[in-house]
Amino acid sequence: MLRTPLLLGYLVAGRRDLISADVERWRREQNLGDRRVLLKLLSQPEFRSLYYFRLRNAGSAGRLFQRIARVIYRGQTTLYLLASEIGPGLYIQSGLATGVGTDTTLGANCTIGQHVMIAHSNSRRAPRIGNGVRIMAGALILGDVDIGDGAVISPGAVVLRNVPAGATVEGVPARQVET
């Protein structure tokens, strides 16, 4: 297989548990079966971007490996994962024009759609996203905000205020539509 060399990254990774959780989540979402799942996923540029993020943030061997690997096996174009922390099992849909800015933290099992931006605005503090949050295509989450566990950010919403756990918000600027 063409992407077999990338498996070496998994072996040198500092946080294999995080990668395994990602693989399990993507396998479930895409019905990939049980065999050679990591290899199948590594053919998707958006998964590779996440894989490189994991390697970059755990151990110097992983960091070195991803620096070389990403030259040959490119990650998704215009997908920027610069967060200070991403919980296990993040799922990224397509990842085009998607940015998770610096200092942002993401909980476990979040889902991020296409054209999503999570970043600083004028404030110094970046958004803090809880566990199991679904952020749909075109949504923007900006500035010093907390998004509670299990919240759903509707497509195209612009979130500038805190969102309580379990809430769904939509619109520009985003308002809660149900609890």
Partner: protein, 177 residues
């Protein structure tokens, strides 16, 4: 300079589709004496050209695979729908995801458009003939954008759009037709 791409047309199985595409693009913009040749200079047209080759026989697939290394397609233009009707016109097309179930004939899409499933494993939109999706329009989930409808810039569509209407806003509402 784009002459080496012309053999791709000759070996393509779906030359009829490519001819309809060229006719549509030539009606939307000014082209030279050999329309296909001047259109191949556009990365967004090349993306469509490669899509036609990829889904028309193994010779075309191999040709597209090699050609796209030298003549790059548009940045982040993902045409994931297999059945795209003839005469799709793409304006700019950067960072555009077209992952509908089917796309009808003579549609128009701009840049930063997203047409995809709402859930990772969910249903996909269906785009009718003559539909126009303007800049940064987002169409998500198992919905139908019917024939001749228009989706305004930055609109977010999560419900069906009736034929020959225009919708706008987040979430999108009918504003015309």
């Amino acid at each position: 300079m784009y002459l080496p791409l012309l053999p791709g047309y000759l070996i393509a199985k779906r030359r009829d589709l490519i001819r309809r595409d060229v006719a549509r693009w030539a009606s939307e913009m000014s082209v030279g004496r050999i329309p296909l040749l001047s259109l191949l200079a556009l990365p967004e047209f090349r993306s469509l050209f490669y899509h036609r080759l990829r889904h028309g026989g193994s010779a075309g697939r191999v040709f597209a695979f090699l050609a796209r290394i030298i003549y790059r397609p548009q940045l982040g233009l993902q045409l994931k729908t297999v059945e795209i009707g003839p005469g799709l016109f793409i304006k700019h097309g950067q960072l555009t995801v077209l992952a509908a179930r089917t796309v009808g004939a003579d549609c128009t899409i701009f840049h930063h458009v997203v047409v995809d499933a709402a859930e990772p494993n969910g249903g996909r939109p269906q785009i009718g003939s003559g539909v126009m999706l303007r800049t940064r329009a987002i169409v998500l989930g198992d919905v139908e954008v019917a024939e001749g409808a228009q989706v305004a810039a930055a609109a977010v569509v999560v419900d069906n759009v009736p034929p020959r209407t225009t919708v706008a806003g987040v979430p999108a509402r009918r504003i015309r037709g």
